[in-house]
Amino acid sequence: MEVKFTDAQNAFRAEVREWLAAHVPSERLPSFDTKAGFELHREWERTLAKDKWGNVSWPVEYGGRGLDLTHWLIIEEEYYRADAPLRVSQNGIFLLAPTIMEFGTDAQKARFLPAMASGDEIWAQAWSEPGAGSDMAAIRTKAVREGDEYVISGQKTWSSRAVYADWCFGLFRTEEGSERHKGLSKILVPLDSKGLTIRPIAQLDGDEGFAELFFDEVRVPVDNLLGPEHGGWGVAMATAGFERGLLLRSPARFQAAAARLVDLYKKNRDRVSSGIREQVLQAWMTAERFCAATYALVAQVGAGASISSEASANKIFWSEMDRHLHRTAMTILGARAELESGADAEDNGRWLDGYMFSLAGPIYAGTNEIQRNILAERVLGLPRK
């Protein structure tokens, strides 16, 4: 076991730190779930891409640096340390890109990855349907093949970033009469397609972070099929593994939040109860445990292991940590916790925003109840029925 960074890794960290210090906007950008905020975040993606800091673990030919996941973790640490803008491209770069690299044709890789890396094309996801949430195999939206095109009809929902994004990746029923996990395909769809109506949904903070998508005979070329036709379930599960597993939430995000929580406690120590000390430490310790476990997982992946059902433990752990951490901040703030802005709103309402967003964590990317079923059945071996 080696838990020291090499000289080269330390030098890399210094280089990242220097670049971020010179480029991170001095003021926090408005939420990317607003029109103006979205475009400012897209500009930030372009800035990242120009100096190739956006996707260091990608191959060089698609805009990356071909570095391993340890380097990605170092970047994440410096990124959150510098309080750099959140990644508006996260659906694409963390979820779709690994899937394209695994299942895509060379033409698809060349078509989609560089534009994703540059921020020119921002991706939304289109998996859930009104009748297919936790039970994703209940998907009904059809993609009927007609010659060189799929004709898509139906409805998707909870489509994150879809209000302002350029493309979506979705799971559609391509095989007539198929049921459950069979007969589904993963297809990439431009969000400005004819026949596609986007209805924004205001989320808990009032911003339009996701949308409903209504497909009325939307036509896309068959070249937009990702992976095998009718074999989309396996492709989607690979994406779900990335999402729950490693890439979506690196420890740095929570370690940064925990450090801010300690500062918040210190500022308020004279007026809070002593019991809050344990809660603050609990949040800090949990983030440290997540860090240790992630480095261990990265070492395993680096040695050739793959992430599957174990990823469910990750998702449970970080989402419940995030909720507890932000609830602790709300408790410290007391009567100021409800303030969205103004002089008395701590950090311009950031803790409130964070708390609201943390409530979504145990729901999105597969509810924590579904994750616990997966762990119980596939890892612990408890009977399905």
Binding site: F5, A258, A313, F317, L380
Partner: protein, 325 residues
């Protein structure tokens, strides 16, 4: 940075686990509880080199670091090993080595000398009656104390597999010894937690109610999945603590305590009324977990250390501060 065991390290841990699982069976533990005679495992430990895991190669040891010993301690915890192997090989031997007492290490490895440690963080000395010599810790080392000079008082633990004594001369704080003690205790708690989950899974597959195995009910599944997730995020923290000092160690011990207490409470709930009896073996692991939660710094001790470091100190926190440079 490569936070995983090398193949050689993993092989060593697996070999020790195979010995523990094969020798310290539930049948053996039941016999010990019933005061029946069982085979002594110490000669086997000596022969297999387990006593010398952390001893220098120059005296015939394997010279492994504390992370490997933590892997072995987890395996010992998994079987609630009655023998105080972890204490001897993982705490006493490294202390003797730090003191330059290579002659005594050779005797330990040969199975001729059992050495205990007297530390202020160890209020209950396990298996003290078997020790021939004690080292009373000092701030930067230790001083040998012969058995007749140490006064012991026998104590009765709820764990029937621990033979406890309290010593009158506890020694001084010694960060080297306390690091080993806390990490290896935490590692045993991880093993105990895993065992209690595994026992509960087996029970939930066999026990039927409403015409189905109770393990098919989500109420049971979710309880056990919660503990499983906690274990998976405690083990790496303990392994990291083996290779760091200070706050990582306190965090690891607290996480291991919380995980083990949750595992024990969940396990008895899954076992239902049977868990509240001597009829199933769960209680042996639960009681060992309770016992180890308090050793080498209880939760209060480690929490106070963390309060000083994190809340009342000026330590650098946040991303990139978890690994010592």
């Amino acid at each position: 940075m490569d936070f995983r065991y090398t193949q050689d390290q993993q092989d060593l841990i697996d070999a020790a686990k195979a010995v523990f699982d094969g020798e310290n069976t539930l049948e053996r533990m039941r016999l010990i509880v019933a005061n029946e005679k069982v085979d002594d495992l110490w000669p086997q430990f000596s022969e297999l080199g387990l006593l010398g895991i952390m001893a220098p190669e120059s005296v015939g040891g394997l010279e492994q670091d504390l992370s490997v010993m933590a892997g072995i301690a987890e395996a010992a915890g998994y079987v609630a090993l009655p023998e105080s192997l972890v204490e001897l090989a993982g705490i006493s031997v490294p202390l003797l080595n730090a003191m330059g007492e290579t002659g005594k290490i050779k005797q330990v490895l040969a199975g001729d000398l059992a050495v205990g440690v007297l530390s202020p963080l160890l209020s209950n000395n396990n298996q003290a009656v078997h020790c021939d010599l004690f080292i009373r810790t000092t701030r930067d080392g230790g001083e040998p104390v012969s058995v007749p000079k140490v006064k012991f008082e026998t104590r009765q633990s709820i764990d029937p597999l621990r033979g406890l004594s309290s010593a009158t001369q506890p020694g001084e704080h010694n960060s080297f010894v306390e690091h080993h003690g806390a990490v290896l205790t935490a590692a045993q708690l991880v093993g105990l937690s895993k065992r209690m989950v595994d026992m509960s899974v087996e029970y939930a597959k066999e026990r039927h109610q409403f015409g189905k195995p109770i393990g098919s009910f989500q109420a049971i599944k979710h309880h056990l999945a919660t503990v499983h997730a906690q274990i998976e995020f405690t083990r790496p923290m303990v392994q990291l603590a083996a290779l760091q000092s200070g706050r990582a160690v306190h965090t690891a011990k607290i996480a291991a305590v919380d995980t083990a207490m949750l595992a024990a409470e969940t396990a008895i709930q899954v076992h239902g009324g049977m868990g509240y009896t001597y009829e199933v073996d769960l209680h042996l692991f639960m009681k060992r977990a309770w016992a180890l939660c308090g050793e080498w710094g209880d939760r209060n001790y480690h929490m106070k250390q963390l309060e000083d470091l994190i809340l009342d100190g000026e330590a650098e926190l946040g991303p990139g501060t978890s690994f010592a440079a």
